[in-house]
């Protein structure tokens, strides 16, 4: 396979680069929809509801688009071409699990029997979706080993919040109020942000040079004021912290709870269950582990599982199977933290996650995790001579490495941006350690794609030696070059002028 930058494969021509905004297109009176004439008499709105509430005549909606269907289709089709996506590009974005999003998931979500259900329809009208949700709940309970799962949270961050609120409620139910939550220095930013939103102070625990939690620092910090330790395992540098049982024992020894950020569950499906290493609460990210698409930034879903002692605090309502075999919503939970979002959750997303788990089954899930881990370790092995690996193998489903090139002033950002010219989406950058790239291939890529990526990384390392300027100024084949982000936030233009 050729590992040349895809110069000829430029995704848009320069002429299209300045693609006009919707507001710069169309003409007054144009529209892309046809609606039937109203078949009821027009009311006198001013007398029916009062002139003071009405926009005079009809609202002006100044600047609002007026465009025909053909041009609307071209507009969005062109936008869709100015975008890297899993369906077109290898997307080794660490911590994000950009695996293939099966078409059959989308087919299920689009079925009118699922898409056209109103949340307040009578329970007998919605038995199919309730059964689906109930099975998904039990699958996640089995995968985590935890006692009960709520499907309600809207994404990972809301799952974290749900989990921490339950932990707070648990401590309170025992007459304690614990103000502190520990997070390792390698934690994802949502962990400390969630602590603040839950009225808790986030305290940082050091990691050792091999990426594992520094147990001495943990022991020094954990106390009877500590509500929980929020940990990611395999952690964000891509290694499984084998001290996890000791960590759990230390945390539990002080009466604190162990929260698992489940963003990295793609390494563990059917391999190990978080409950078996002492986790009390965890969230899943269906949009990472269970193949629901990322949609340019959502929707996701963040189901949360808890151990037995936290069950009384789960959100309401919960999907249940009744004695007669029918399904229902149960509102009854005396110490519930309440509802964390409208209605029942991101149902369309949860449906896709169900379809995925049903398709893979116990055997497929384990194979997926095995292949994800195999692929990551294979890439690391292929790159180990050209890049610096701060942590020793084996890795879980992802790894971090540091581009370090003698004297050439080429940064991780430059390498990542140069990958774009090879048709590859940049890895996660500069987190969780300085100057790193975090690479997660996922299990759904072919060996050919993995090899192409390895060869592109090696080619870039060569370029750094022979022609560093090309790398430093990448990308070269995109509709735009690097953006002036400083100017963007100094004088923000976040809406089209009035």
């Amino acid at each position: 396979m050729s590992v040349m930058p895809a110069e000829e494969r430029t995704i848009v021509t320069p002429a299209e680069a300045d693609h006009p905004l919707l507001f710069e297109q169309g003409a007054p009176g144009a529209t892309a929809v046809s609606l039937p004439e109203s078949d009821v008499p027009e009311i006198d709105a001013a007398s029916a509801i009062g002139a003071e509430y009405l926009a005079e005549d009809a609202p002006e909606l100044p600047g609002f688009p007026e465009i025909g269907e053909m041009d609307l289709v071209r507009h969005y089709t062109r936008l869709s071409h100015r975008l890297f996506s899993v369906d077109e590009n290898f997307y080794p974005l660490g911590s994000c699990t950009m695996k293939y999003n099966p078409r059959v998931n989308e087919r299920a979500a689009a079925m009118p029997e699922f898409a056209n259900l109103h949340p307040y329809q009578p329970i007998e009208d919605v038995q199919g979706i309730l059964e689906t949700l109930f099975h998904l709940r039990t699958y996640l309970e089995e995968i985590s080993g935890l006692s009960e799962v709520t499907l309600q949270p809207s994404a990972g961050a809301q799952g974290e919040m749900t989990g921490l609120m339950m932990i707070n409620a648990y401590h309170r139910s025992r007459g304690e109020n614990r103000p502190k939550v520990l997070t390792p220095d390698s934690a994802h930013g949502t962990n400390p942000a969630t602590c603040t939103m839950c009225g808790r102070q986030a305290c940082t625990v050091k990691s050792r040079s091999d990426g594992r939690v520094d147990l001495d620092d943990l022991r020094a910090q954990v106390d009877d004021q500590t509500a929980a330790l929020m940990i990611t395992n395999p952690n964000t540098v891509g290694v499984f912290d084998e001290q996890i049982s000791d960590i759990a024992a230390i945390v539990h020894g002080c009466g604190a709870q162990l929260y698992l950020d489940g963003a990295n569950m793609n390494a563990l499906l059917g391999i190990a269950r978080p409950a078996d290493f002492g986790v009390d609460v965890m969230h899943f990210n269906t949009h990472k582990t269970f193949s629901t698409p990322h949609g340019c930034g959502g929707p996701g879903a963040g189901p949360v599982g808890v151990a037995e002692h936290l069950r009384p605090h789960l959100p309401v309502p919960q999907v249940v199977r009744c004695d007669d075999g029918s399904y229902a919503w149960c509102e009854d939970r005396s110490k519930s933290i309440g509802k964390v979002r409208s209605f029942y959750g991101q149902i369309g997303v949860l449906l896709r996650a169900f379809v995925y788990i049903r398709a893979l089954g116990s055997d497929g899930l384990r194979n997926a995790s095995e292949k994800a881990v195999l692929s990551a370790n294979y890439l690391a092995a292929r790159l180990k001579d050209r890049y610096h690996f701060p942590f020793p193998p084996p890795y879980a489903h992802e790894f971090v490495m540091v581009p370090r090139f003698g004297s050439a002033r080429v940064t991780e950002l430059d390498v990542a941006k140069r990958l774009i010219d090879y048709g590859i989406h940049p890895p996660t950058m500069s987190w969780p350690i300085q100057h790193c790239l975090m690479i997660e291939p996922t299990e759904t890529e072919s060996l050919a794609t993995l090899d192409h990526f390895a060869e592109a990384m090696i080619a870039i390392a060569d370029e750094v030696e022979q022609d560093p300027e090309t790398v430093r100024t990448a990308p070269h084949n995109m509709p735009v070059r690097r953006m002036d982000e400083v100017a963007a936030s100094r004088k923000p233009n976040i809406r089209w002028p009035r």
């Binding site: 109203s38 009405l54 609307l72 994000c96 329809q121 930034g297 409208s342 299990e443």
Partner: protein, 447 residues
């Protein structure tokens, strides 16, 4: 069926490159005592035909709102509006579906531009200065609005009108439970906010008045008047808005609202049993740097060419960690994109037409129901597309009778309001035909 592509011989080749014998060796850091012995206790994988059979079985156990068998007059925050084919087609383009959050601007101009246009259209619709690129749904948008109002005013007391969607009230309570927020409930009187109660609770410790208009009971609130009262004591107004109503009603900028939040579901998003939906968030320019969620801005690239990037990121958790304005990370990108396509497809005229037809059809139906024996409109307040009906019949019997004729006549109000146990609420979208409206009247008359 597991979507992996690596074959057995390739596995051996890869293991050799890594320098281990078996895949198991790669898991050596997981202590054996914690390894899963054998397969998980969930069914084994199945093929696609088997999967489709299973999905068909589950689907048959649902009775969707499809007009042919079930006509939907349910509302209460989720509405059965028409979604043009072109919206589904474009929003389902796989590049949009399978891309990540646009952190890498050069490779994400398409989604960034679409979000910039979305932000603009939300501003145009609501009359607000700035908008973000989405939150989860109405309820969390309301909660974020409250937190922002408290941060801006440095006050904690918030007046929450009980005509806000009950889920929003509930979620607001959950999500601000650990914050120094002091919620004060303002009751309704005759379907609208009790103005006397509001006046007596408003004081110079008040951060904000949180209301919804049209409210949960359908009533169009006296927002402008409330805004004046609130601003007189230095409090903000957080209004939950219905984007469709902006096609006939005065917008929130004109009403002097400070923060507009709301549910974007009516903008081309299927009802999907309650989600995923789209939290809207817009506000006045001076609060822009405290706004939660992702924001896209216009900037220039190295060559001076116009382009887009995520901006004001120093508000966000990946930079600010515990000092971030909010913990929201993954939000509702694809729904924002879908709503943008829907708004663009509708255009000025489409938005007005839909709003106008909702208004006309809701009023046509309400008059007919009010004229029936045993039914009357509960409130005499102005409404847009939804209204509360009081009946002398048992509400459950009314709803079951209509259901047996393939009509979902409305939602029973006793679920949320003890004092409305003899009431149900009816929503009418532009999709309902005169025949369907007359059929509902006929069904109600024959209980």
């Amino acid at each position: 069926m597991d979507y992996t592509q690596i074959t057995e011989p390739q596995t051996r080749e890869m293991l050799a490159t890594i320098g281990v014998e078996r895949i198991d060796d790669l898991f050596k850091d997981i202590p054996t005592s914690q390894r899963q012995a054998g397969l998980l206790d969930i069914p084994r994988g199945i093929s696609e035909p088997e999967l489709l059979t299973e999905l068909d079985r589950l689907a048959r156990n649902n009775t969707p709102c499809d007009d042919a068998n079930t006509v939907c007059f349910l509302g209460a925050g989720v509405y059965d509006h028409f979604i043009p084919t072109v919206v589904d087609a474009l929003a389902n383009q796989s590049e949009f579906v399978t891309a990540y959050t646009p952190y890498q601007a050069e490779a994400s101009q398409g989604s960034l531009q679409a979000f910039y246009e979305f932000q603009t259209m939300i501003c145009q619709l609501t009359g607000m200065d700035v908008a973000n690129a989405s939150l989860y749904e109405q309820a969390t948008a309301v909660a974020e609005g409250v937190l922002m109002a408290a941060a801006v005013t440095k006050r904690n007391r918030v007046l929450i009108c009980d005509t806000l969607h009950p889920d929003a009230i509930h979620v607001l309570r959950t999500l601000t439970y650990e914050q120094p927020i002091e919620p004060v409930k303002i009751p309704h009187a005759g379907g609208a906010i009790d103005m006397d109660a509001l006046k007596s609770e408003l004081n110079d410790a008040t951060a904000a008045v949180i209301l919804q208009s049209p409210n949960f009971l359908g009533t169009i609130e006296r927002v402008a008047e409330i805004a004046t009262l609130a601003h007189d004591v230095g409090a903000l107004v957080v209004q939950s808005v219905d984007p469709i109503s902006c096609g006939v009603l005065k917008n929130h900028g004109d009403l002097d609202v400070d923060i507009a939040v709301g549910e974007g579901q009516p903008l081309g998003i299927p009802m999907s049993y309650g989600g995923p939906f789209l939290g809207l968030f817009a506000c006045r320019e001076q609060y822009m740097r405290k706004m939660p969620g992702r924001i896209v801005g216009i900037t220039r690239d190295l060559d001076g060419k116009r382009g887009f990037c995520l901006t004001l990121q120093t508000r966000e958790q990946h930079i600010k960690r515990q000092r971030a304005t909010s913990n929201v990370c993954t939000n509702q990108g694809l729904l924002a994109l879908r709503a943008a396509i829907h708004m663009a497809a509708m255009g000025k005229e489409g938005i007005r037409t839909v709003a106008r037809q909702c208004l006309d059809k809701a009023h046509y139906l309400s008059e007919k129901i009010d004229a029936l024996d045993g039914y009357n409109l509960k409130f005499d307040t102005p409404f847009f597309r939804e209204f509360v009906v009081q009946t002398t019949h048992p509400v459950d019997r009314v709803l079951e009778h209509c259901h047996s004729r393939g009509i979902l006549a409305g939602v029973a109000m006793k679920t949320w309001f003890d004092d409305l146990d003899d009431c149900f609420m009816v929503a009418v979208t532009e999709k309902r035909t005169r025949k369907q409206l007359d059929d509902l009247v006929e069904a109600l008359g024959s209980v």
